[in-house]
């Protein structure tokens, strides 16, 4: 069972997605803010295979969270992959910016 760390400040969104992913047999740990996520990742980075975070073009703290999580990932082949979720109103530049930071990007419906 793949373990997923989900960072989303919106509680209802995070709950809905985590319930859904658990139904898909992913094990999900939800963090409300980046500090919490950094602490969890520092404790047991190897336990997670995917990190999911919600990003928006205008929220600088989202990009800071992405950078701080990225910095924590130790070089090595089995590091966790990063998946950024962004709204349809954010343009292709957000997707490109996230992908240049080594993440994959998914546009929320």
């Amino acid at each position: 069972m793949a373990r997923v760390l989900l960072l989303d400040s919106d509680e209802s969104n995070a709950h809905e997605l985590s319930v859904y992913l658990e139904g898909q047999h992913f094990s999900v740990k939800v963090c409300r803010d980046s500090k919490d996520a950094v602490d969890v990742l520092k404790r047991d980075q190897n336990d997670f295979e995917v990190l999911i975070l919600d990003i928006s073009r205008d929220r600088r703290e989202d990009w800071e969270a992405l950078d701080s999580l990225r910095r924590l990932i130790k070089p090595g082949i089995p590091g966790p992959g990063m998946l950024c979720l962004t709204g349809p109103d954010n343009g292709a530049d957000v997707v490109l910016k996230a992908e240049r930071k080594g993440a994959r990007c998914v546009i929320r419906r």
């Binding site: 793949a2 859904y20 999911i52 070089p75 992959g81 990063m82 998946l83 992908e99 929320r108």
Partner: protein
């Protein structure tokens, strides 16, 4: 907003009803997991470009190793390598078994592809014979080139896990390149 629900099999093979809003997220996770599995199983993908070949022969003596690129998510990241380092990478990609510095030197010296490297061109000598004692230095240079490419792509990979050196039963080290290589002829 109207939602579409549909039936899909989960990891345990059970049928579950899914809300299609989240489907791209599940797909994204699956792609990341597949990417990771591939990295663990076969390592990153390298594309080695040969030129000056005489069709229809491929990888024949006289060709030149033009360059080596690391392929990541469909993009090419050229490795900044000298001629000797390109020869070392090409050789290690062909020989999948771990080899000592002495075996690498002997293998390159015995292979007509490297003995006549680049001789189909009209430029100066493109032949390089890597000496046993220099292998360690070239290994470090290749790792540095990989590191620079990984930094460029912002990917957290350790070059030492890709160009692997392992101790043998004596103090001699063996070298192995843990990559999936493909050769392109241009």
């Amino acid at each position: 907003m109207e939602r579409t629900w549909f039936l899909r099999r989960n990891a345990k093979g059970q049928g579950v009803l899914l809300d299609d809003r989240f489907l791209p997220i599940v797909r994204g996770i699956e792609v990341l997991l597949a990417e990771k599995r591939s990295l663990i199983a076969v390592g990153p993908q390298l594309r080695i470009f040969h030129r000056l070949g005489v069709p229809p022969n491929r990888c024949s003596p006289g060709e030149e190793i033009l360059g080596v690129c690391w392929i990541h998510r469909g993009r090419e990241f050229p490795l900044r390598l000298s001629l000797s380092s390109r020869i070392l990478i090409d050789y290690l990609c062909r020989c999948r078994l771990p080899q000592t510095a002495a075996q690498i030197e002997a293998g390159i010296r015995a292979d007509a592809f490297y003995i006549r490297h680049g001789t189909n061109g009209k430029a100066g000598s493109q032949v390089r014979m890597i000496k046993k004692r220099a292998v360690k230095v070239f290994v470090q240079r290749v790792r540095l080139a990989l590191r620079l490419a990984f930094i460029q792509a912002d990917v957290r990979l350790d070059p030492r896990a890709i160009l692997v050196s392992q101790a043998t039963d004596t103090n001699v080290a063996t070298y192995r390149l843990k990559v999936r290589a493909e050769w392109f002829h241009v």
